[in-house]
Symmetry: C4
Subunit: 222 residues, 4 copies
C-alpha cells in the first residue's frame, strides 16, 4: 500500500476536502462565462447591406463593445477576488460547495443581461428595463459573494491558521457597502441606462483594489 | 535521472493511474455544460417588436428561467456528488474512465432537453413530449451515475483504504431509489409538464444532501 | 529563499517542462469540443410548425443523435488515449507542444464535420461529400495522433524510464493500421454515407481497447 | 493541525500567491477561445440550396478555413508563449493578475475579428476594414503580451532564481519588434486584405520559435 502517497489525498471523515476541485471547477465556469461574452459581438451580415458600410455598421455597435468590456472586467474581478478568498481557505465542506455554486450560477448568467443591455442600451424606455436587469444581476452577484464569504469564515477550521476571522468580518462590511451601491443602480437604471453602465464600470474599478486585506498578523511566516 | 521526482507520476504497469486528469477533464465538461445553459436565455429581438414591451417579453420567458435554474441545480449537484465519489477513489483504471465518459455524455447533453422543455413547457400536447425527454435524460444521468459508482467500488484497490465497500453498496441502493423516481417522472410527464419540472427541482434538492455517507470507520486518521 | 519549494517547479535550461500545463490546456480543449457537440442538437422551432408534431420532429432528427454519439465517442476515446500517452511522458519540449497543438486543431474542428454529416446524412449525393469530409477529419486526427506519438517517443529522456521505446514503435504500427482504415472510409463515403458513419462507430470501439500496451518490463516497481 | 500539509499552500502576507490558479484560469480561457473558433465554420443550409452543390458551397467558404487556421495558430502560439513566460515565474501578485487579465481580454475577443475577416475577406472595400480590425486585435494582443512580460519581470522576487532579468529585457525588445510588424499590418490592410492575413500567418510562424531564450546561466541545476 505504499503507492498511496502521491495520488489524491483521502477524504476526511466529515466530507471536508481540500479546495483543489472547487477551484478547478470554478476556474472553468469563470473562464467559459468570460469567453462566451464574445458571442455577443455579432458580425454585421454581409448579405442585404450596402457595400462599403462595414465601418459604419461596426461603429453603430458601440453598446456591444462597452457592455462586453464592463462585463469582462466584472467577471475578471470576481475571479481575482474569488482567488483571493480561496487563498485564505484551507478546507471546504458541503455548505461552502453550495455557496460557491450559487455564486457560479450568477456568474454564468452574466452573458444574458450583458447581451440584453447591449441590444437595448439605445432603445428608449426599454433601455431602462435592460439596465435594471443588468443591475439586479450585479446585486445578485454581490449578495452571492457576501454569502460565500460568510460561509467560508463561519468556521475557523476551514481557514488557514494565520487568517483572523474578526478582521475578515470587517472585510464583509465593505462588501455590504458594494451591495448597497448595486441596489442603488437598480433605481438609477430608470433614470439613465448609460449612466448605469458607467457606474458599473466604476464599481468594477473599485473592486480592483483588494477588499480582503484582513490585517493578517502572521506576516513573518514563510 | 534525479529530476524525475517532481513531474507527473509514472503510470502503473496495468494502466491504472491517479484520478488527476479524469477530474480535470470532468470538471471541464461539467463547467462547460453548466455554462452553456445560458445560451438558452434568448434576448427578445429588438427589431419588429413594439417599443416598451421588453418587460412583458422577458416575463413571458419564465419557462426558460425555471428550466435554466433546475438544470443548473441538477448539473451542479451531479458535480458535487462526482466530487464526493472521487474523494473516495485512489486510482482509476480503463473501465472507470469509460464509465465516467458515459456519465459525461449525459451531462453534456443536458442543455438540449433543457432548451426543449423551456421552449415547449406551455405548448399543450407537445409539452408532455418535451417533459418526457427531459425526464428520460435525468433517468439516463441517474443510471450512468449508478454505473460509475458500481465500477468504482467493484475493486477495493481503487478506493482509499478507509472506504468500506459494504457500506458503499448501501449508498448505491439509495441511488437506485432516485432512479425509480426519475423513471416515474417519465410517466408524470404525460400528466403535467409543469409538475414534472417541479419534481425534478425537488429531486435535485434531495440530492443536495450527501448520499454517500459511507459510515467510514477510520475517523482518527490524518 | 526557502519558500520556493512548493510553487511551480522552475523550468529546465532547454525549455523542457513538465506535462502539467500541456495536460490542463488539452483537457480544456477536449472538454469544450466534446461539449460543443450538443449545440448541433437543435430544438425544433415551435413557431410555424403544427401542434402535436414534436415527437415526429424529434424522431426525424435521428442523424443528429447518431452523429452526436459517434463524435462524442471519438473525442472521448482520443482523450482517453491522450491520457494514456502522457502517462508515459515525463517531460515535454517545444516540438511536443506543437505536435500536441496540431492534434488539438483537429479535435476542436470535429464539431464542424459532425454538424455537416448530421445535416446531410439523408441528402442523396451531398451525403457522400459530407461523409467524405467527416472521414477526412478522422484521418487527419489519426495522423496527428501518430505524429504526436512519434514526437514523444523520439527522445527517451522525455519518457518515464520504464517505457520501452522499441515496444512503443510497435504501438505506432497499430496506429498506422487505424489510419489506413480511416483512409478507406473516405472511399467508402462515396458508396454509402450511413455505412461510413457505422464504420467510424466501429473504429471508435476498436480504439476503446488500449492500443498502447507497450509490454512494460518494470512491473514490480511502485 | 497536522493535516494542513497537503492542502493548498497558505497565502503570503502581501497577497502574493503561486501561479497555479492563474495558469488554470488562463488555460481555460485559451482553450475556450481556441475552440469557439469552430463556431465560425458554418454548415451550408440544406434548405433552399440546389442538391448536389455541397462540395461547391464548402469550397466557397475557403476564407473561413484560412481565418480559422491562422487564428488557431495565433492563439495556440500565445498559449505556448504564455506557458514559457510562467515557467519562469515563481509567484504572482495583483498587478500580474490584472496584466494577465488584459491579455485574456484580447485572446477571448479573437473569435470576433476572425469571423469578421472570414465573412468580408472577399468583399471589396469592406475587406480592408475587416483586415484592419483583425490587425488591430493582433497589435492589442502583442501590446498586452509585452505589458504582461514587463509586469512579470519588474520584480526579481517573482521570478525563479535562475532567470536573468537583464536578458529578459532583451527578450522584451524582440517582442517590441513583433508589435511594430503588427502595427504595419494595419496599414497593409488598406492595400490588401489577403496579404494581411498571409503576413499574420507568417508572424505566427515567427513566434513559433522561442522568443524567450533568456540565456540562463544556471544550467547545471536540477
Amino acid at each position: 500500500m505504499d503507492d498511496q502517497q502521491r495520488p489524491t489525498e483521502p477524504p476526511r471523515a466529515d466530507g471536508v476536502t481540500s479546495t483543489r476541485r472547487l477551484e478547478a471547477f470554478s476556474d472553468g465556469v469563470f473562464a467559459i462565462a468570460i469567453t462566451l461574452l464574445v458571442l455577443d459581438l455579432v458580425v454585421p451580415p454581409r448579405e442585404g447591406s450596402p457595400p462599403g458600410r462595414l465601418a459604419a455598421a461596426l461603429a453603430g455597435q458601440w453598446p456591444s463593445y462597452v457592455a462586453y468590456l464592463v462585463s469582462f472586467l466584472v467577471i475578471g474581478i470576481i475571479w481575482v477576488n474569488h482567488h483571493t478568498v480561496f487563498d485564505k481557505v484551507r478546507l471546504v465542506d458541503r455548505p461552502v460547495l453550495f455557496a460557491n455554486l450559487a455564486l457560479l450560477l450568477v456568474v454564468s448568467a452574466i452573458p444574458f443581461p450583458t447581451h440584453l443591455l447591449a441590444e437595448y442600451l439605445t432603445a428608449g424606455a426599454d433601455a431602462h428595463v435592460a439596465a435594471a436587469v443588468y443591475s439586479a444581476t450585479m446585486l445578485a452577484m454581490g449578495l452571492a459573494y457576501s454569502a460565500l464569504w460568510l460561509t467560508v469564515t463561519r468556521d475557523a477550521r476551514l481557514l488557514h491558521e494565520d487568517v483572523d476571522p474578526a478582521t475578515s468580518r470587517a472585510a464583509l462590511r465593505r462588501f455590504g457597502l458594494g451591495n448597497l451601491f448595486y441596489l442603488a443602480t437598480i433605481g438609477l437604471a430608470f433614470v439613465s441606462a448609460v449612466a448605469t453602465l458607467a457606474v458599473h464600470a466604476a464599481l468594477a474599478v473599485y473592486y480592483c483594489f483588494d477588499q480582503l486585506r484582513t490585517g493578517r498578523a502572521g506576516r513573518g511566516r514563510d
